[in-house]
Symmetry: C2
Subunit: 333 residues, 2 copies
DNA sequence: ATTGGATAGTAAAACGTTTTACTTATTAAC
DNA sequence: GTTAATAAGTAAAACGTTTTACTATCCAAT
């Protein structure tokens, strides 16, 4: 069964292709097509089940009603939840989302951007990584709306939506200190991206403001892309060799690995050792004892992203960049 | 900066568009283009950074090098992990994946299929839901490769990759019985899809084979799309009103909700009550005590899906349908 | 009875490729 | 020295839309 084209509809209705196109695109009234013709053509379209070929449409118009979403890792619940929310909201406005993971690999990220470019996506939502500055700059130069989220890249003038990582970390550490903890550890990664460095800065500043001297032995930076087993080994060593009474994990997957390690040891989480994780996860709620977590307002973040990008897409002129930063909250468990 | 087209390259090289196209597509030797010209054009392409417009390409050729992946819910870790694996593997073969969630909503699923259709995706990987039979049939009639996974739809002749849900459930229940459990509960959902009904069948058969009489009060079917709070309330009622010594949760999100409920009660999971969850999740590993889980071989499933679809894509003739069923394993914790 | 503005509609170019069928020049074979 | 095959390359159609610029008719106003 050959798929129908606009031409088939035109022939069937005995009108020109142009007329059908106007009707499909709701421009019929503007272009003074009679009600009778509109009705007839609409009827034929409905009965035949004709659907415009989006590829041809994109080729002609240069846009696609698709927004490209580039994230770190779809299997991380923070990202998959954001993705789901964004998808939902975009869908309601007639946009489709296509998403893909970078796995913090610059080459893959660049290829994704190129793929999206050649598919003529209308806008980009990106949780960026270092090394993408030029490519993103290029997108902006092409006049494409770009929203960065979760993390921003220094030196890049663009829209950004995220949470206040510095403050959240600061407050987490402060809450440890108020509990009387002195030897506070930070487990983070070595990705050089603002959202991660802000967490280290918040950690340092909180210590400093409470006259605790920064001890780099208490900080573990694991290499981003390494195997979980290696990460666990490093953590195991940290907990074995360094005395700590509290630990902040800078991402939820680090916290999960850490909890696995701690489960094997005789450290009593919650008694000997207080734990806070960054980005909430079901694991933390169900863990015995419950694990406190920094929770970013996913719903608000997703909403802000969508608002921002839709506004850009519908505006003919370049709008001013906006930086929207939400406070994160600490769920004490 | 206007984006380059094949024409620009042709002009720059002083050759025809055709020649450039042949070179881009690796057909130059076949079409007897001289080495000198090939080199020259390739150089210009490399230096200019020209990338073919995929939209135009798709319009002309009718395919897209894109595979559409339709799943239930990207924020469920089972699906996000499968998605990630499929994406990785497809990527290595030069295919891109675009995925989207149905949320078990037939209308949304149909729209997704239509969207993918109008974007001319080359093949479909679908975890189907009831009500999609006709649409899938239509895809098959159009000659598009379709792989169903996780669940199949009765009456639909197509490729399928999944795990042996009946057997896994049967063995789970059997393991409860071997531990001396008698009042074994099943918490499942009311989605009418083979993968779910197989779990109920496995449950019933295991009881029967061990001379335990089936008691429908022990089976809770929660409505798929309801709020988690309502689900929890139903579970709370089940555990309060019915005496059980073991429970099998038919999906991981049900198990997670169930564990949250149990945490509030004085039921001692692992002592008073044995628990097995379907589809493993980090929560279960970290839970105290560890929660046993049925683990599907995600890697193998993803690999089989990709193999199957790539084989279909590269074959000119319609291949025989294959049904690949992997055993699932029970992780005892 | 001419002008001018609606009204109703259409022809054809354009978007950027791929591919078929064609041309022209060169070489090989007899 | 003709013929046939090969080498090297190209013109133009086609994919399915959108959109610009155009035509033709009708009516109202002068």
């Amino acid at each position: 069964m050959k798929t129908l084209s606009i031409k088939d509809i035109a022939v069937e209705a005995g009108v020109s292709i142009t007329t059908v196109s106007f009707i499909i695109n709701g421009k019929a009234r503007d272009k003074s097509i009679s009600e009778a013709v509109i009705k007839k053509v609409e009827k034929i379209i409905a009965e035949s089940g004709y659907k415009p070929n989006q590829i041809a449409r994109s080729l002609r118009t240069g846009n696609s009603n698709i927004i490209g979403l580039i994230i770190e890792d779809i299997s991380n619940s923070f990202f998959s939840r954001i993705a789901r929310l964004i998808e939902d909201k975009a869908y309601k406005k007639g946009y489709k989302i296509i998403y893909s993971s970078t796995e913090n690999n610059v080459e893959k990220a660049k290829e994704l951007i190129n793929m999206f470019k050649s598919r003529k996506v209308d806008g980009y939502i990106i949780s960026p990584i270092k090394g993408l500055e030029e490519d993103i700059q290029q997108l902006l130069a092409d006049g494409k709306p770009v929203i960065l989220f979760d993390r921003s890249l220094p030196g890049l003038e663009t829209n950004y939506v995220g949470a206040d990582h510095f403050k959240a970390t600061y407050e987490s550490i402060e809450s440890f200190i108020k509990q009387g903890k002195k030897k506070i550890s930070l487990v983070t990664t070595d990705i050089d991206v603002e959202q991660i460095t802000a967490r280290l800065d918040g950690y340092k500043k909180a210590l400093e403001d409470h006259d605790i001297v920064y001890d780099e032995n208490l900080v573990l930076k694991v290499h981003f892309n390494q195997e979980e087993n290696e990460t666990k080994a490093q953590m195991e060593e940290l907990f074995r060799t360094v005395e700590t009474d509290a630990v902040l994990f800078a991402t939820n997957y680090l916290a999960i690995s850490g909890l696995k390690v701690l489960k094997q040891t005789n450290v009593k989480v919650g008694k000997n050792l207080s734990v806070i994780a960054y980005d909430d996860h079901e694991v933390f709620e169900l863990h015995t004892p419950g694990i406190s977590a920094v929770q970013q307002p996913l719903e608000e973040i997703a909403e802000a992203i969508i608002q921002l990008i839709l506004r850009q897409l519908s505006s003919k002129t370049k709008l001013d960049n906006e930086q929207i930063v939400f406070p994160a909250k600490i769920i004490q468990r």
